[in-house]
Symmetry: C2
Subunit: 339 residues, 2 copies
């Protein structure tokens, strides 16, 4: 049994903020990341919540991310916003970009935000969620260091590269939120099995020759298995085109690892598209989505993407979140050491 402590969302945000600032992040960069960390814990995605704070702090201290970065924005076309994250945290860059993206999407009908020189943006669906809260359909793409090989090949060329889409709902919450990577399973799961000395199921990873393996260490030297074979490679390529090539960011092929302290800033990218659904559908969007959502909710046992996170979020707002005590101790130590 893992020991836990229950914290309110405000406490999670405050703790995250304090640790990030103690590690050398300025307040402008620490705040959006602290807010996202609380929201991620609320959504029940513990792997990307407080557990990431010690990693973020280490990355500020080793220079993999610049805690003092000042992102800059330009609008080269009415529908296209570009933000240079300046090797700082993605969250501050995305916040800056969304301030321009959201009004541009309303005025133009559709607009895009290209973020370059960026870093791991955490849970991608956290960002598209905010576009849905603004009444827009939000599409997001983010790239990562290469870990998936092309169909018929064995050398990784693209990351596990998630995409996300969030759809505005009648209650201010997204009525549907999809946030999925291109691999069968998250790379962090393979790393966890390696740390714990456990075999992985066939179908999670491939050896350096492209053959199935149950040894997580061999899999980490080879590649991650794409979900659905060549079609998963197609999704990873789509995301690489959007998040890296269209933003002018570093391809997964050349990006430094998101984990560990070596290699300097990864300089990867994010790409967001925001669409005004009432305009594009001539007012028919909300009813269509209600109909689609009902067709899934009305089936016993059927899963509507986003419902799991929504349920966690509603509960967390009331009751707080049970957080791993060892993680809290690690964050407290960072705050003590740096104050």
């Amino acid at each position: 049994m893992t020991e836990t402590q229950t914290l309110s969302l405000a406490e999670i945000e405050k703790l995250s903020f304090t640790a990030l600032v103690a590690a050398g992040t300025n307040e402008e960069n620490a705040r959006p990341l602290a807010v996202a960390t609380a929201a991620t814990e609320a959504d029940g995605v513990a792997s990307h919540g407080l557990a990431y704070i010690p990693i973020y702090c280490e990355h500020v201290q080793c220079g993999k991310v610049d805690g003092q970065a000042v992102p800059t924005l330009e609008t080269p076309r009415p529908g296209l916003v570009r933000v240079d994250a300046a090797t700082g945290f993605a969250h501050a860059a995305i916040d800056l970009g969304f301030e321009a993206l959201i009004p541009a999407a309303r005025e133009q009908g559709i607009a895009a935000l290209a973020i370059t020189n960026s870093y791991n943006c955490g849970v991608l669906g956290y960002h598209t969620y905010r576009l849905a809260q603004a009444g827009l359909v939000g599409l997001g793409f983010t790239n990562a260091p290469a870990s998936i090989a092309p169909s018929g090949g064995s050398k990784p060329v693209v990351g596990t590269n998630p995409f996300s889409v969030a759809v505005p709902g009648p209650d201010g919450q997204p009525s549907l939120l999809i946030d999925q990577s291109a691999s069968t399973i998250a790379k962090s799961e393979v790393m966890k099995h390696a740390r714990e000395g456990k075999a992985i199921p066939v179908g999670w990873a491939l050896d350096p020759h492209g053959n199935p393996t149950t040894d997580p260490n061999v899999g980490l030297k080879g590649s991650m298995a794409p979900s659905g074979g060549y079609k998963g490679v197609g999704i990873a390529l789509l995301t690489e085109i959007m998040a890296a090539a269209l933003t002018g960011s570093t391809l997964g092929l050349h990006a430094s690892p998101f984990s560990g302290t070596v290699g300097g800033p990864p300089k990867t990218g994010q790409f967001f598209i925001a669409i005004d659904p009432a305009v594009s559908s001539n007012g028919l969007f909300s009813n269509a989505i209600s109909d689609l959502v009902a067709s899934i909710r009305n089936q016993d046992g059927a899963h509507l993407p986003g419902d799991g996170r929504r349920a966690c979020r509603l509960a967390a707002g009331q009751k707080g979140v049970a957080v791993n005590s060892a993680t809290l101790a690690r964050i407290d130590a960072i705050i003590q050491e740096n104050s």
Copy 2:
């Protein structure tokens, strides 16, 4: 051995045009579909080439598609074009829409085309290909009658719903073209096995209770298996959101079948996004794509999406295409009967 005859692309286009007009399609609607049919045969996608002409003709004659339709265009926002296909062929509607979409994407940086009251658009990648030829990254989505069940459910709610992305290349041909459906295999393959009385492999389709089946007839009464399980459902939902909900078209849930003569017009939709990659990437796009493409081509046996169609296309321009003689006889009969 199937008997074939070799036709030039001009002959394929002329034959398609003549048959469509003989069946009651006007010239404005027949031409873009005939051009697309020749291009589809050139690309080696015989299942969606001339073989579809008798179906298109039948659908004009039974009223599933209006051969005399006049699509109409509006531009409710600078970046958003809407075309009402008026239950006519998708191809004429897309042609009309692209005339506005392409300049809008260049001016705005990104633009979208929402097509409603439409019909099966044939090979989706044919359309995104043309956006890439215009120097734009083209993303396309099209929805279809429901045949995929939600994760954990058994009743179909979304179609096999393909998406496509085409990336401009240095030689006027796309350097990368992805065009894939959300199911493990095309529904037409299951229908073919049913016609031929052959069993299907496990993993292609599910019975009406959501269990695997090897009987194609049972699978056709149940649902198509999504590629990669719940992640394939996610792709089908993404496409349904884009192609149906965002365009105000008929959901796959309610659409009449694309095959057969019953049910009237399906009134499904297409959604296209065109992005100016030189602007969004600040000039870095072409080199990034060359680098990514090389990383795949340089691996022995690795498959770059779009290379198969490209090779067929280059050969077809020189040598023509070997076409099924029975299909030609069927098309000739349509022309004779209606002239």
